[in-house]
Symmetry: C2
Subunit: 410 residues, 2 copies
């Protein structure tokens, strides 16, 4: 059987460089969602779509869609996001959008219609870098967004999310109107950089992604007694900061023991001065695992460690859930097809779980979904240094194109 | 021999309550130096001195002095500071000033002149709560103040220390003029609350202080690699925050092992967000010991621990000295006399080193000095809850008065 027209990977890379030239540069990508530079990125995308006679449309949440009519409905949707964090990388999100454009371009330039309709989507505000709410557009599409829950958000300059959305033609109260396109989607595929060091370390050019790890993010609060650093004997202290330090080290062990990720990226002490024993401490604990049972066990272990450390140091302990998402496995059949495509295009059998969240995790709630990852040099993303070796980019784009064409035929 | 007229301790306590009523209250003492409330406290002190026909004078650093002429020169100086931290305690500093006033009042009301001149001093800006430079007035007196080193300091509202001093009639450039009074001082005695829990725990009402512990305060910086909390495997992290946490716990052990105080009251992580492994961490390490050799050993142990933790976690480490002061032992003979007075007035043989700094540490550079401590309930100070049981206050004031009278006779 024919797999359909091959994506021109070199052109996709050239588009990415041009996008970076226009909306990024040496200081990093500046495509912060709902801003002028982000709109410039979308204008460039619209120009490129215009070259193949396609015109994008917007849904109620600000997601950009374009449909290439095929022989059957509903459509295979391919895409990602063009928005970036400030001073971000040139590939995070943009790779998946430009690769999706490459797939559409290949079909638009062929003498055949695709066996089923093919759509590109550019999800709005994946990063949440401005208002702190990531996956905005894709969660509006899946219906998991609670518009009232985000209505009070403001950016660092005090601008309300409501006003920023309105400036971009989006009425927050109507955002769930984006769910109406769920009927038009048969499956969703997304190519993304790994944003971690695993594939590079293993010499893998492209890998199928089995799903997104679940996340349990908690604020652990320890309350001891602030006292004078010079006059409180060591054995009479109730040092909340040391309780937090002890738990941070234990959380690291919990991650390793369960084969998950466990991070304590924020510790804040009160009063936080050198001359006082810390009377209070807040530790942010971020736990991730693709298996729900393991994730729950990690949380239980971390909590038990916190209770023990607090008790030993005469501190009170309380935990508050900051955010949580269950593990989201992708569609088994699509993951297998993605693995096949990676084997053929990149000689790779690697299947890994994503520890980062992606729009695909939201789409997976309502449609069969899979992803392909390519390596990130040094595991670095969300920084201007973010990069992927060009042969790896090419191989991953080709694997993604192959996968898309095969799914189109299902 | 007669010890001279006894201090009326109950009157001292009444003066302290009145001072608290005028310049503090339920929210705590508000005698922040160089402010209106601090000037009110000094005005009350001047009124009380006026009742015994004494008029205070000011030196070039804003210290308040009053001399009661005796049979010999130079003078025994007794005092402390009336300034407080914001929302501070009613006794910290004020106790020593009012007790000193009590000693002067007893002699002024007797039919004898003291065997040597007797002076009260109220040191300016002991706390350094507004501009971050403690022991201002006493260090100007001792000559250890570097006026140019503090000239750039500003308070939280941006007001310059130069302007705040000028508002109080002090020209920073002339502050070292306060050293001229060194000639007039034979010895210095100060009564202060312990600001720690030791005396209360031991049931001691008053204790002689052998000296002030030395302090080594350092900023330990760890530089690892910030990376994504969801995608960086546990065994590939360079977590600077965990290096700092490990060192904080080790610093605690160092304090206990050397019989000193070791505190890590501030840990700051960068970027300090839950979704990123901390790429940088700053730990403030405050080490105190009355013995210079032990203090140096504590610092060496803490640095070695930091180097080991940094190396193990692939982090760079550097230490920067923030502040240091050598241990300052008080005058052995005066300490022995203080101990005798505490035994007689309060049945206590306890002699302890101060982990907190006091004006007495500055005065000890230029004159024989000793201190007496009374207990702090719960070890609490620098807070509105600061308190001492009234029988303990009375006993300590009486011990201090006895000590002052005996030193006057030397």
């Amino acid at each position: 059987m024919s797999d359909g027209p091959a994506v021109e990977a070199a052109r996709v890379v050239a588009d990415l460089h041009e996008l970076d030239r226009r909306t990024g540069g040496p200081g990093g990508a500046q495509r912060l969602c709902w801003t002028e530079v982000w709109r410039e990125a979308r204008a460039m995308l619209a120009d490129l779509l215009g070259e193949i006679d396609l015109e994008p449309e917007r849904d109620a949440a600000g997601n950009l869609w374009v449909f290439l009519k095929g022989e059957r409905e509903p459509a295979l949707v391919v895409g990602s996001h063009v928005d970036s964090v400030p001073d971000g990388g040139w590939l995070d999100g943009a790779l998946g959008v430009m690769a999706a454009l490459g797939v559409l371009r290949a079909w638009a330039g062929s003498d055949r219609r695709p066996p089923r309709s093919l759509a590109l989507v550019d999800w709005a505000d994946e990063e949440g870098a401005r208002f702190g709410r990531s996956l905005f557009g894709s969660s509006a599409f899946s219906g998991s967004l609670d518009p009232e829950g985000v209505r009070g958000l403001r950016d660092a300059e005090g601008i309300s999310i409501v006003d920023a959305l309105a400036e971009n033609g989006v009425d927050l109260g109507d955002a769930l109107g984006a769910t109406s396109r769920q009927d038009r989607i048969a499956a969703y595929l997304e190519l993304h950089i790994e944003q971690g060091p695993v594939l590079e370390a293993e010499g893998v050019q492209a890998a199928a992604v089995s799903g997104c790890a679940g996340v349990q993010r908690h604020r652990f609060r320890f309350r001891g007694q602030s006292s004078h650093a010079g006059t409180t004997p060591m054995d009479r202290r109730r040092d909340a900061g040391l309780a937090a330090a002890q738990v941070a080290l234990r959380v690291e062990e919990v991650g390793a023991q369960h084969g998950g990720m466990a991070t304590t990226g924020s510790i804040v002490l009160f009063p936080g001065i050198p001359t006082a024993v810390a009377g209070e401490a807040e530790l942010l604990v971020d736990l991730r695992h693709p298996d729900a049972g393991e994730l729950a066990a990690m949380l239980a272990d971390a909590r038990a460690a916190a209770e023990a450390a607090a008790s030993r140091r005469g501190c009170e302990f309380e935990a508050e859930s900051v955010w949580a998402i269950e593990p989201i496995p992708f569609d088994a059949e699509l993951v297998a097809m993605a693995s096949d495509a990676c084997r053929e295009a990149a000689d790779s059998d690697r299947v890994l779980a994503s520890g980062a969240l992606h729009d695909a995790a939201e789409v997976a709630r309502v449609a069969p979904t899979a992803m392909v990852f390519c390596p990130s040099i040094g595991g670095i993303s969300h920084a201007s240094e973010e990069d992927t070796a060009e042969p790896d980019l090419i191989a991953a784009i080709e694997a993604f194109g192959l996968l898309a064409n095969r799914v189109l035929s299902t």
